[in-house]
């Protein structure tokens, strides 16, 4: 019996094993080849740096990319900002200290760009200031409102979430081109206005309309992204708190004021910082939509930087001036972010106490 038992199913199993073994060997061959090839490389390296040194070795590729694409450009930016001349090679650029900064900051009245030596930079600063204030405040309010609506149990909620998020997937250049077709002199809106016998508006060539156009297009393109962040923040608030509030007789307004807003504050802080930095960096969609015009009505700081570095301003290209402008913007952004963080932290402490 024992023998039969061994010969019966045992024989079948060993036959199957004999059949599948070559298949397994064949399938694992590429893996073994790869491992052996890697072994040829890494074993000598491990002998060289030791097992403790290996993690650092694995970090090197990412670190190299970070150094090449982040650290070196930042250092070059610093070098250009403190040197003059037209050459792109740092070695050929004479050191001029803070001259680029003093040229940029040379103003009789900072609120009047015409009184500044480099008036185009200050026009960019003023335009960006207005853009940031309107864009960021509108963005936060609209994103909050949209997220509150989309957080409720409305019909076709998934569809609407998709609709609001969709523009975020588009490139800003594509967004600007789409809106250009809508807003241009012979565009969709003017066609509609003409169709109902109303006077047309040259949206992209009248200063106030053009400013508004860049703001609206910026809002349209980024609203979905910030809505999504706030929506995630809203969904992280425990439903238990609202249930308790309802039992305590809190109205919807009170729930929003005493539960939603305080618990959403860290999320709103992130939204504020991200949208603020994004608004200061406004460039692509404005460039495509209005190219800084009419005149310099929609010429923002990054527009000035681009023109100074590549297209030429005040008689020529000036990389030093362009990089100095970016450093000034970076300093302002960092300072603003730190202040905002400090305020937010204090407010959180107040709330937690």
């Amino acid at each position: 019996m024992t023998l039969t038992a061994e010969r019966g199913p045992g024989r079948q199993a060993s036959t199957a094993a004999a059949l599948t073994r070559p298949l397994g060997v064949l399938l694992s061959l590429p893996y073994r080849l790869l491992m052996n090839a890697l072994g040829l490389i890494f074993e000598p390296l491990q002998r060289l740096v030791g097992i403790k040194g290996m993690p650092y070795l694995f970090v090197i590729p990412n670190l190299a990319l970070f150094i090449i694409f982040a650290i070196i450009p930042i250092l070059l930016n610093l070098v250009y900002a403190f040197t003059g001349g037209t050459s792109l090679f740092p070695a050929n650029r004479p050191f001029i200290g803070l001259q680029n900064f003093s040229v940029l900051l040379s103003c009789d009245n900072f609120l009047d760009p015409n009184s500044c030596l480099v008036d185009l930079f200050w026009r960019g600063v003023m335009n960006t200031g207005v853009y940031v204030i309107v864009e960021v405040s509108s963005l936060i309010l609209l994103a909050l409102f949209t997220a509150l609506v989309l957080n409720r149990n409305i019909r076709a909620r998934g569809f609407f979430r998709g609709v609001y998020f969709y523009p975020t997937l588009l490139s800003s250049v594509v967004v600007a081109l789409l809106w250009k077709w809508v807003l241009q002199r012979n565009g969709l809106i003017n066609g509609a206005l003409e169709g109902v016998g109303m006077p047309t508006i040259n949206f992209l060539f009248e200063a106030d309309w053009a400013r508004l156009a860049t703001i609206i297009v910026g809002l349209w393109a980024s609203l979905g992204f910030y809505t999504l962040i706030i929506l995630a923040g809203l969904q992280a608030i425990p439903a238990l708190l609202y249930e308790a509030a309802v039992i305590d007789g809190a109205s919807r307004r009170q729930q929003f004021q005493y539960i939603t807003l305080p618990l959403l504050r860290p999320t709103l802080y992130i939204v504020f910082i991200l949208s603020f930095v994004g608004a200061v960096q406004v460039f692509e969609h404005a460039m495509v939509l209005t190219d800084g015009g009419p005149g310099t009505a929609t010429s923002y700081i990054m527009h000035f930087v681009y023109n100074a570095a590549f297209a030429g301003i005040a008689g020529g290209r000036n990389v030093g001036l362009a990089t100095a402008a970016t450093l000034l913007v970076a300093v302002v952004l960092v300072a603003f972010t730190l202040v905002q963080r400090w305020i937010s932290r204090n407010a959180s402490d107040d709330y937690s106490t």
């Binding site: 080849l33 527009h303 297209a311």
Partner: protein, 429 residues
Amino acid sequence: MLRKLVSLVILLSLFVAASVQVTAQEPVQVRVMADLVDDQITVFEEIIAAFEAENPDVDVLLDVVPYETIQQALPLQLETGVGPDIIKSTDIPGLSPYYLDMRPYVADPAYWDANFGPTITMANPDGGDRLSALYSDLTVTGPFINRTLFEQAGVAVPSDSSDHVTWEEWEAAAVAVRDATGVEFAMGLDRSGHRLMGPAISVGATYLDEEGYPNLAADEGFRAFVEMFVGFHTNGVMPIDIWAGGDGARNGRDEFINGNLVFYYSGNWQIGSFAANIGDGFDWEAVPNPCGAQTCTGMPGGAVFAAIGATQHPEEVSRFMDYLASEPVYRQWAERTLLAPQHIALAEAGLNWNTELPQALKSLDVFAREASNISPIAMALFTSPNIGPVYNATRDRISQIIVGELSFEEGMERIQSDIDTGLAAAASS
């Protein structure tokens, strides 16, 4: 065993790769960057194909790019030494530090000296005699009209009855045509400092003072022209869309092609484009330059094909440039693109333009006459080493005056300070 096998495979792969690299004889690649349009692309590609058939060891690659790329990205590429081997550019003296001297490489330098003398002078602002460039086209600025619109409006074309039509007369006629036909725009002028120069000189501008320095703030003729030009925009004669529309060069070409512009000031390089895009869709033609108080002149200009010194293949680059410069090829280029040649023997012999379109032939005749009537002030300005910063300064600041960001006086001051800054920077570099 497996490890040995892997090592063997790797070694063999390396050996095969190295062998392939050593034995392959790829043609030398010569890269051309040019802002060609319409039929120019086809003609140039055919020239390349013919050259490659005769020179199988050279592979000419054509990169057709927008004009802005030539203006903005190319100088940075050239500065870093990784740019193309041959470029087409309008900034002839400005990019001269990057040019290749082809004199040791071309088959017959005397042929170049005899036929491209003015180009050699322009491409050597330091007074040298390097052979680096040949004009792709010699240009002169001037206006076009949509004669069909004039006929529809029942308005006489002023230049039909007079050789001396003023800007004001053209303005009155164009506005009358616009109002009668319902098209959107009466007059348009390319957004370019260069395009302003002919009209401004006609009105009385000199641009350069006695020392050859551009002193525009004190140039009464220039000031008078700017006042007139700004007025054209504030009173709606010219569309704000061209001159107030942000940075860079802009033109009214599309509006003219679409039959939406009565009078369009640009230059002879548009003839080929209009022939291709309008054809005989409506009657278009060039008319003589409008007159001001001083004269009636256009502004010369043009673009060159220039060889770049950083090339790894100077011999092959020079061979292709030599081919382009040869009389039959240059003739083919000019006759088929309807671009005026800057080849002395060809210009003297005359060309058989490759078109039977009456509108194009008439326009070519008009611009030939305009080229011979260019004011000495315009010629002096064209060859001045101080002209560079004037283009952008006048273009950008006049735009600001037009939209009201700067008063007239503020604009004039900014134009001058931009020019001073630009020339000082050029002098110190």
